[in-house]
C-alpha cells in the first residue's frame, strides 16, 4: 500500500512550537522505508501519527489516496512493533499473537493456522505456551514481530525494534527483518537512530532533524551525495571530515590555508558559482589517497586505531585541526610521524557554509 504524507504537521497540547511541520513524503508500495534521525527529531511522533496513536494537527495522511486522518488505528490495517515489544505480560505467546484476530472475532481454526504459520516462520513454535517473562529478549522480539505478522497488515510499522538486542543478535535480525519484509510483501516503515540499520535495510531512507526532513532517498545517495552538512555529518562512520574555507580562483582553500582542493571537471561549474564565498568541504575518511596525487596534505598521526581490516588514523594538520583518515589494515603507520596524503577530486563534497546546502549536485 502506498503511504503519502502531505504537508503534515504536529503540535502537542500545551506546547508552543510545532514538533513537526511541512512533512511531505511518499512511501511506495512494498518499500522498506527507514525514518532516521537523532533522538528528539520527531521520527517516533511521525510513526505514531501514521499509526493513528497521535492525532494529526495539519495536513493529510493518505493510504492509497484514501484520507486516513480520522480513521481509528484498528481500522487502518496496520501493525506495529514497539521498542519495548509491548507484549501482554499476562497472556501466553500464543494468546499474544492471536489477540488481534480474536478481537476481530475470527474463527478459532483460522486464528490457529495464522499463529502457527507465523510461529513457524519465526522459529518460536516451541515457546508458544510460555509467558513473555519466561523467554529471552531475542525471542520476545520475535513474538512481537509474530504478533504484528499474524494479522497480515498492509503497512508494517516498527519503532526501534532492535535497540534492546545485543550487537550480534541485532546483526542477525537485520537480515531476518529484510527477509520477512520481502516474504510479507507489505510496506514497512521503520524508525531508528542507528545509521547502520538504515543503510543496510532500507530501500528508502528519510533522514529527519528538528522536525524537518533533511533528505529522502536511496541509501547510496545518502552516502555519496549528502544533501546538506547535517546529512554529511550524520551518515557514515567515522564522521566525514568537514573543513571550512572559501573558493578562490575556482579552488577550495581552507581557512588556515593548509588544504587546497580543486573540484573535478564535473563539479567545476557549480563550484565556480561560489567564487569568493564561504564554503565547507567534506571528505570521507577512506577517500584520501595514499599514493601520488596533485594536491596533498601533510599531517601528523596522533592516534592509530587498529580495527583489523582497516586502521583509523586520528591525525592533525599543522594548524592543529583534526582529520580522521582510514587506511587498509596492512599498511604501517607510526604515531607522531608525519605523512602526506593525496586528495581525490572525485570524492569532494562542497557545501554552502551559510545555508549548509550541497553545492556540487
Amino acid at each position: 500500500m502506498k503511504v503519502s504524507l502531505k504537508n503534515i504537521g504536529k503540535k502537542y497540547e500545551g506546547r508552543e512550537e510545532f514538533t513537526l511541520r511541512h512533512i511531505d513524503l511518499d512511501i511506495e508500495d512494498k518499500d522498506f522505508c527507514v525514518i532516521l534521525g537523532p533522538s528528539g527529531c520527531g521520527k517516533t511522533t511521525l510513526l505514531r501519527m501514521i499509526a493513528g496513536l497521535n492525532s494529526i494537527t495539519e495536513g493529510d495522511l493518505l493510504f492509497n489516496d484514501k484520507r486516513m486522518n480520522k480513521v481509528p488505528s484498528k481500522d487502518r490495517d496496520i501493525a506495529m512493533v514497539f521498542q519495548s515489544y509491548a507484549l501482554y505480560p499476562h497472556m501466553t505467546v500464543y494468546d499474544n499473537m492471536a489477540f488481534s484476530l480474536t478481537m476481530r472475532k475470527e474463527r478459532k481454526s483460522v486464528i490457529d493456522k495464522a499463529v502457527r504459520e507465523a510461529a513457524e516462520l519465526l522459529q518460536i513454535t516451541n515457546y508458544l505456551h510460555s509467558k513473555p517473562s519466561d523467554i529471552s529478549g531475542g525471542q520476545r522480539q520475535r513474538v512481537a514481530l509474530g504478533r504484528a505478522m499474524v494479522r497480515r497488515p498492509r503497512v508494517f510499522l516498527m519503532d526501534e525494534p532492535l535497540s534492546n538486542l545485543d550487537a550480534k543478535l541485532r546483526e542477525h535480525m537485520r537480515v531476518e527483518l529484510v527477509r520477512l519484509h520481502k516474504a510479507l510483501e507489505t510496506t514497512s516503515i521503520y524508525v531508528t537512530h542507528d545509521q547502520t540499520e538504515a543503510m543496510t535495510m532500507a530501500t528508502k531512507i528519510v533522514l529527519m532533524n528538528e522536525g524537518k526532513i533533511q533528505q529522502a532517498g536511496k541509501p547510496d545517495e545518502f552516502y555519496n551525495q549528502p544533501a546538506n552538512l547535517f546529512v554529511a555529518r550524520f551518515i557514515g562512520s567515522p564522521t566525514m571530515n568537514i573543513f571550512e574555507g572559501m573558493i578562490k580562483d575556482g579552488q577550495f582553500i581552507s581557512k588556515d590555508g593548509h588544504i587546497k582542493a580543486s573540484p573535478s571537471d564535473k563539479d567545476e561549474a557549480s563550484v565556480k558559482a561560489f567564487e569568493g564565498k564561504e564554503v565547507s568541504l567534506g571528505i570521507r575518511s577512506e577517500r584520501f589517497l595514499t599514493g601520488d596525487a596533485q594536491e596533498k596534505i601533510e599531517v601528523t598521526v596522533d592516534v592509530v586505531e587498529m580495527l583489523g581490516k582497516e586502521k583509523i588514523l586520528y591525525t592533525k594538520l599543522p594548524s592543529g585541526d583534526e582529520i580522521v583518515i582510514s587506511v587498509p589494515g596492512h599498511l604501517d603507520f607510526t604515531e607522531d610521524e608525519k605523512y602526506t596524503f593525496g586528495i581525490d577530486h572525485g570524492a569532494l563534497h562542497f557545501f554552502d557554509t551559510t545555508t549548509g546546502e550541497r553545492i556540487n549536485k
Binding site: G52, M80, S100
Partner: protein, 301 residues
Amino acid sequence: MKLFKKKQEFYLSDRQPLTLMGKLMLMLSYLILTGWSIVIVWPLSQMVISAFNGNQGRYLILNRVTDGSYEFSMKHFRFLFEETLYLTWVKNTLFIALATAAITILIVSFTGYAYSRFRFKGRKPSLMAIMLIQTIPAFAGITAYFTMHSVISSVAPFFSRQMMLILIYAGGGIASNTFILKGYMDSISTELDDAAKIDGCSNMKVYRLIIMPIVRPMLSIIALWSFIGPFMDYMLPRVLLTNPNDYTLAQGLFTLMNNRETLNQPAFAAGGLLTALPIVILFAVLQKQLISGLAQGSVKG
C-alpha cells in the same frame, strides 16, 4: 581430621563477624522483639482460651489452666447464636463489606485508569482535591451524612441507613485508592495500550483485557482493605445504625461489653474469634495475589 577442622573454620556469611558490642545489640534486639510479641500474643491467647472456657462467667477472669478452672465448652458460642442476634450482625456486616468492596473496586478502576491514561482539563486540580479530601476523616462529616440520609430517604424510602454506611465507606475508599491504583498503573508502559488499540481494542477493552489483569494484585489489596474496613469500624455504625437488627458485628458485639443487661464478656471473645474467620479465609484465598501485589507496590512506593 585436619581437613574436617579446616572446613569448620570457613566463615561463610557475607556479613562481617560480630564484635562484642554487636553481639550485645543482637541480644537486645531479640529481647525487644520477644517482649513485643508477648504483648501481642498474650491477650490474643487469653481471648481464644476464654472463648472456649466453660468456667468463665459474665465477666472475664484470668484463665488458669493448671488449677482446674479451665473446662472446654462451646457454651459461649451457643449463647452467641441462640441468645443474641449474632447471625444477623454477620449477615449485615458481610453485606456492607461486600457492597463496599464491590463499589470501591468498580469506581476505583475507572478513576485510576482515567487519571493514569487520559489528559483532561482539571486533571491536576481534581487529583489535588481528592488528596485533600482524604485527609479529612470520614467521621468528621457525620452530621452531614445524617442530614443527607434523611433527605434522600424522604424521597426514596428504600434507601436504608446501611446503604448510607456503604456509600460513606466506599466514598472514603475511592479517594485514597484512586491514588494508589493510579500510581500502580503509571508504572505500566503505555505502549501496551497502544499495542492493544492497534489490535482493535476500545478504551474499555484496553482496561478490561490488558490493564486489569496486570493490576489485579493491587485491585485485590484494595478489595481486601475495603472489605476489612466495615469489620473494624465501630464509630460510624454506632451513630448511624440504631436498630439492633441493623447492627454490624463490631457494634453488635460491643453490646456484650458495655450494656449491663446483655453483658457477656466470654461471648464477646467468642464472637471476636469468629469475626476473624472470614478475613482469614479471604487472606488465604487472595494470598498469591496479595504477595506479588505488596511486593510490587513496595518497589513503586
